[in-house]
Symmetry: C2
Subunit: 361 residues, 2 copies
Amino acid sequence: MRIGVSKRSLAEAASVLERIAPNRPNLPSLGYLYFEGAEGELVLRASNGELDLELRVPAEVEGEGAGLVPAHVFGQIVRSLPGELAALELSSEGLEVESGSFLTRMAVSNPESFPPLDLGDGDAVSLPAQELAKALSRVRYAAANEEYRAVFRGIQLELRPDRMRAVATDGFRLALYDAPLSRAPEAKRVLPARSADELVRVLKDASGEVSVRLGSARLGVEARGFRMGIGLMEGEFPDYERVVPENFVFEIRFDAEALRQTIERVRVLADKGNQRIDLHLRPGALEVAAEGEFGRGREELPVETEGEGPLMAAFNAQYLVDALKGLKGQASFRLSGPNSPSVLTGVEDPGYLAVVVPLRV
Amino acid sequence: MRIGVSKRSLAEAASVLERIAPNRPNLPSLGYLYFEGAEGELVLRASNGELDLELRVPAEVEGEGAGLVPAHVFGQIVRSLPGELAALELSSEGLEVESGSFLTRMAVSNPESFPPLDLGDGDAVSLPAQELAKALSRVRYAAANEEYRAVFRGIQLELRPDRMRAVATDGFRLALYDAPLSRAPEAKRVLPARSADELVRVLKDASGEVSVRLGSARLGVEARGFRMGIGLMEGEFPDYERVVPENFVFEIRFDAEALRQTIERVRVLADKGNQRIDLHLRPGALEVAAEGEFGRGREELPVETEGEGPLMAAFNAQYLVDALKGLKGQASFRLSGPNSPSVLTGVEDPGYLAVVVPLRV
C-alpha cells in the first residue's frame, strides 16, 4: 500500500492521537497507533482502553493495508518531516516514510492486536458541537481529580426536552451549564472528566452538529473527520438539584474578571493550608481580605448590592477563582451567610451556575 | 520610611531576584529579599549563598530604613498589584504595600541577618557587556550539570592581551568562544555554570561596558542598576588546549541549522541508550543515519567537502545538536576518522569552536 498525504494534516492528527495513547500502556497494543488505507483517506486510531479515537486524514491511497506503529515515535517523525508531503509505503519489510531527502523504515506490528473502535449501542441524537464543547468545558473544574467516589470524577451530560445540561461536582462545589436545545430525548450519562477533556479538544475544530449515540455503556460521537467512543461511568450521579439553594439574603453584582483578579492578589497572603479569604459585604461595597503567616491583605471592590447587610462569609480562594474563571462580563453572587451554600451565576452568560460552599470558620 | 515606585520596575526586579533566592534555603535568611531605601532608589538584594545580586530601582524615598521580606510572597504580591504605582511604607508594624484599592501589610524581618553583598577583592577591568554574555552563553551547554570533578560544572573566563575567552568542558566535549578585546590584563577564573546563567540573564538588558573585579575568591560585576558577586570555583581547569586537534583528513561545510534539523529528524530512530547517529561522508554529500528498536532513518544533505573520503564517524546525537544550536549560517566540521576528536567551527561566527569526540563503535 502506498499513501500520499500532507505532512501538516498527518502531523496534526498524530499529535491528537498521541495524547490518547498512554505512555505506559497496560495493554502493549495501546502504545501504538492503528493505521489503515481507505478510499481517499488515511484512517488513524488510538485508544487508552477507556476512550477510542479515530481520525480520517484526506490522502491518496493505492492498494490496501493496515498496521500498528509506536505512537510517540511515529508522532515525532511526522512532525519533523522536512517536506510538505509525506509518502508512506507499507510492505512486508515495514512502513517506509519518505519526505524530501529524509527516509525512514519502521517496524510494523499486527493490526489485529488493536482493540476495535467501540462506539457503543443506542440511538443517535444530533447536538450542536460548539455548545456541547462549551457545556463540558465550563463545568470541568468542579469534577474531582481523585476522590473516593468514582462518580465525582465524572461529568453528567443531561438531555431534556428544552435543553442540554452538563453538571459536575466533587462534593464541595458544583457547576452546571445549560444550553437551549429542541427536540432532544430525555437522557443522562456520566462521562469520565478526562475523556470529556479529549472530546472537547476534538470538538474545537468541529462546526455544526455532531451525532451522539447514547449507549448503555458507551457514548459514541461522530462528525466529519472523527469518531470517538467513550466508556461511561457506572454509579448514580448525586441528586444535586436539592443542594442548589433558591433563597438568599444578599446579592452582589460585579465584573467577574475584576473580582477574580482581586482574589488572586489577596490570596497571596492567605493561609497556605486552607486558602481562606473573607468576603465582607455591605451595601455598595465588597471587601476581600486574607491573613496568613506572612501578613494580611485586603482590597475593596465597588459592586451593586441588594438585600440586608452587612454579611461575612469565608471561602477557599481556589474554589472562587475556579468558579469565576470562565465568566465574562457581569456576574451575580448570592449568599445567605457564613454557613449556607452560595450561588454564582453569569448575568451575561445565563446558562452557567456554580454553587460554592463557605469554609466553616 | 515611605517609597513610591513604578509597579512594573518593582515587579521586574522582584522576578529577577526571586530566581536567585532559593526555594529551600539552607540559611533561613536566603529565602528573603533585602530592601533598603537610598537616595532616589530602592535597593533590593537576593543571595543564594554562592551568588549575591543587588538591583537598584528608581524610586521616591522619604526617610530611611531596611528590612527583609519573604522573596516569593513579595514577588507574587508586586506582580499582581492593580495600579501603575506602588506605595511602600515601612514602620514598626511591618511593610505596607498599597496600590489602587489593594492594601497589604507584611511582617518584616531583621535586615542584619542578611549576608552583605560580597563583590570580592582585586582590580576591576572593563568588558563589553554583550560580548561577555555571548561568550558565556555560547559555551554553557558543554559544562557538566553533575560530575565527579566539580570544575567540570564551571565555565573558565580567560582574559588575554587580545581577547576574552569562555571555555567549558564536561570531559567528553568542549566549547570555546573568543571575543576580540584590547588592553586586558591576563587572568583566568572559573565561574560555576549556574551562576554564569544568572549573570547572562542580568546582562541581557545591559549595554556598553561592565566593570568586572577579578578577585581571588569572587568575581564582582557592576553596571548601571545592578551589582553581582559570584563565588568562584576552586581547582585547576583542565589543560584543554592540547585536546583540540589541528590536522584533519576531511572537512565539510554546510548550513548549521539545516544539519541540526536533519539530526533532529534522524535521531528519533536512534537507540535510546547511546543516541548514536552515523555520519557517512563522501565527496559532495553527507548522509546522516540512525537505527534503533523502532526501525531506521536516514537523510542526505548536500555539503561542500574537502579532503579524502569516504569516511564514517558515529556521534551522540545530543552532543552534535548542542554544539550546532547557537551557530548561524555556514559552519565547518573537520574530522579525521571514527576515533579522533572532531572540530566544529562557525564560518560566519569565527569566535566559536567545539570539540566533539565520536562514539566508540
